[in-house]
Amino acid sequence: MTKVEAVIQNSKLEAVKSALQEIGVEGMTVLEVRGHGRQKGHTEVYRGREYSVDLIPKTKIEIVLADTMVDKAVQTILASARTGKIGDGKIFLSRIDEAIRIRNDERGEGAL
């Protein structure tokens, strides 16, 4: 089982969510995060004082999939989240040791 973490632009959440649901991904966790890669932030001014905001609001989607689904999911995310500009985000893959359904203690890929 593989965990797919995708940090994407806030404005792309709907597109990515719909696309993933279309290919059969049934579960996901969505977080509001702040961060940056190479994207520069912006400056805000309050009563003459400048504040540079370099932690930019982003959306993070976490999904855990059977290994067979991972490639398709990554392609889907890339296609729906890309704008071509700096700040599009990144996808990270990591191995998952176990998945457990709380309701009935089902384990393994069946729990996904």
């Binding site: 805000e44 309050y46 009563r47 003459g48």
Partner: protein
């Protein structure tokens, strides 16, 4: 209905019948009097006309009192709390709210007497302790057509908001207990004497009642804004900067709340300025218009200056500008014409923007919410411009021995008035500086002024009040 309730119900019905019968009897006894001679009827008519005028004035003054209270709660509370960090939102609101309670009690017990009693040049005296003598009868020296009790409660709202403005300077780092003690003593030692000097019977600076240095201050440019603004500067310097200032970013946590507060202040200010006419006539209208124009022009001024300097006009700049204009027009509202009101506003908007965005940064003091930059500086500017633009056509405040109006301000030919304005301003500055320093030292030595660094970092909401302003993670 149970058996137990029946006797009570019967007694209630009997009581109602008796009360009704009384009303009917009372009415019939007055209705049946025969119309007597013309003189009596005329006297009665004159009394009714006077009562009607008094009713109109009193209605306006009660509304004005409510408007000014609204300026503190929630106007100022919201305006200030939006500017601080989330962890201090409640504490900042509490500072305004506590004054609504504490100053009221002090005012009722003795502060009204200290301010408006018939005392000497500096102090009102003890005649109206516990509001003795403050009832339905008007006091012609203050306001001839409204109960003096209305006048008292109107002035109370000013006494409440004035120390609230100082909170802008020590926000996010003052102990709540210290704030209470400080503002209670400040209200008595600084506000009451200043109010007495400018507005009280025998006051040294009272322009309407023959003060030695008549200072034109219609609604409190010196009494409210200069005293609180300068005191704020003293507090900011004495208490020192917030932990992390100026390196750590401390942007306003909610410009939305500040916006709502500022708009409530603008609307409430009609009670503050136009209500200072103490009647519902054309002077109130004139002050109303001047107030509104001053606010509008200043908003344009500040936002415009920002647009030029930063490339974008900000919402915070717009509302701060409006407040600065309202501050500057406060002493002038009932003395100047509409066009000068626009000019006063415009100058105040740009000047206060410069004070806040340039001077404060250069000098490096931490006046967290710009109490000095807006109220101290804006109030001083407004008091000076009042001496320039006051005209007797709007308000014949100075009269010669025959009752003819004398020139008020510079543009009418009375250059001397500017000197009087400076005297009033200087006294306000001096009283604020000395009084505040003494009180700060006293409170610091007895209970300590500032929270500990740990409490400051944790936030005043938790450390002083045990509360959080936004508990959005609470389970559904």
């Amino acid at each position: 209905m149970s058996n137990r309730n029946r006797p009570i119900t019967w007694w209630f019905v009997i009581l109602l019948i008796v009360a009704f019968a009384q009303c009917v009897c009372a009415q019939s006894s007055t209705a049946a009097s025969p119309s007597s001679d013309t003189a009596t009827r005329l006297a009665k008519l004159e009394q009714q006309v006077a009562d009607a005028k008094g009713s109109a004035d009193n209605a306006w003054m009660l509304v004005s009192s409510a408007l000014v209270l609204m300026m503190t709660g929630p106007g100022l509370a919201l305006f200030y709390c939006g500017l601080v960090r989330k962890k201090n939102v409640l504490a900042t609101m509490m500072q305004s709210f506590a004054l609504m309670a504490v100053v009221t009690v002090l005012w009722a017990l003795f502060s009204y007497s200290f301010s408006f009693g018939a005392g000497n040049s500096f102090f009102g005296g003890f005649q109206n302790l516990f509001l003795r003598g403050v009832g339905a009868t008007p006091d012609p020296d203050y306001a001839a057509t409204i109960p003096v009790q209305t006048f008292m409660v109107y002035q109370l709202m000013f006494a409440i908001i004035t120390p609230g403005l100082i909170a802008g300077a020590f926000a996010e780092r003052m102990k709540f207990s210290a704030m209470l003690l400080f503002t209670a003593i400040w209200s008595i030692l600084v506000y009451d004497p200043m109010a007495h000097m400018v507005w009280g019977k025998g006051g040294l600076l009272n322009a309407s009642l023959g003060g030695r240095f008549p200072t034109l201050d219609f609604a409190g440019g010196t009494v409210v804004h200069v005293t609180s603004g300068v005191s704020a500067l003293v507090c900011a310097l004495y208490l020192g900067k917030r932990v992390g200032y100026p390196k750590e970013p401390m942007p306003p946590h909610s410009v939305v709340l500040s916006f709502i507060g500022a708009c409530l202040l603008w609307v409430g200010w009609f009670g503050f300025n136009a209500g200072s006419a103490l009647a519902a006539g054309s002077l109130a209208t004139s002050a109303f218009v001047a107030t509104h124009f001053g606010a509008a022009a200043a908003a344009v001024g500040w936002a415009g200056a920002e647009w030029i300097r930063n490339g974008k006009p900000s919402v915070l700049g717009g509302i701060s500008g409006a407040v600065a204009g309202l501050v500057a027009i406060t002493p002038a509202a009932g003395f100047v014409q509409p066009m000068p009101a626009l000019l006063i506003g415009l100058i105040a908007g740009v000047f206060c923007y410069w004070m806040v965005a340039v001077v404060k940064t250069k000098l490096g003091y931490d006046d967290s919410l710009d109490a000095f930059g807006v109220h101290g500086a804006g109030g001083t500017l407004g008091a000076i411009l009042t001496g320039v633009f006051a005209v007797s056509a709007v308000n014949p405040i100075f009269k010669d021995a025959h009752g003819n109006a004398l020139p008020s301000g510079l543009i009418e030919g009375n250059a001397h008035q500017l000197l009087n304005q400076f005297v009033g301003i200087a006294i306000a500055w001096a009283l604020a500086i000395v009084g505040t320093l003494v009180i700060l030292k006293f409170v610091d030595v007895t209970i300590g002024l500032r929270v500990s660094e740990e409490e400051e970092v944790q936030g005043l909401d938790l450390s002083q009040h045990g509360e959080e302003g936004y508990y959005w993670e609470a389970s559904a």
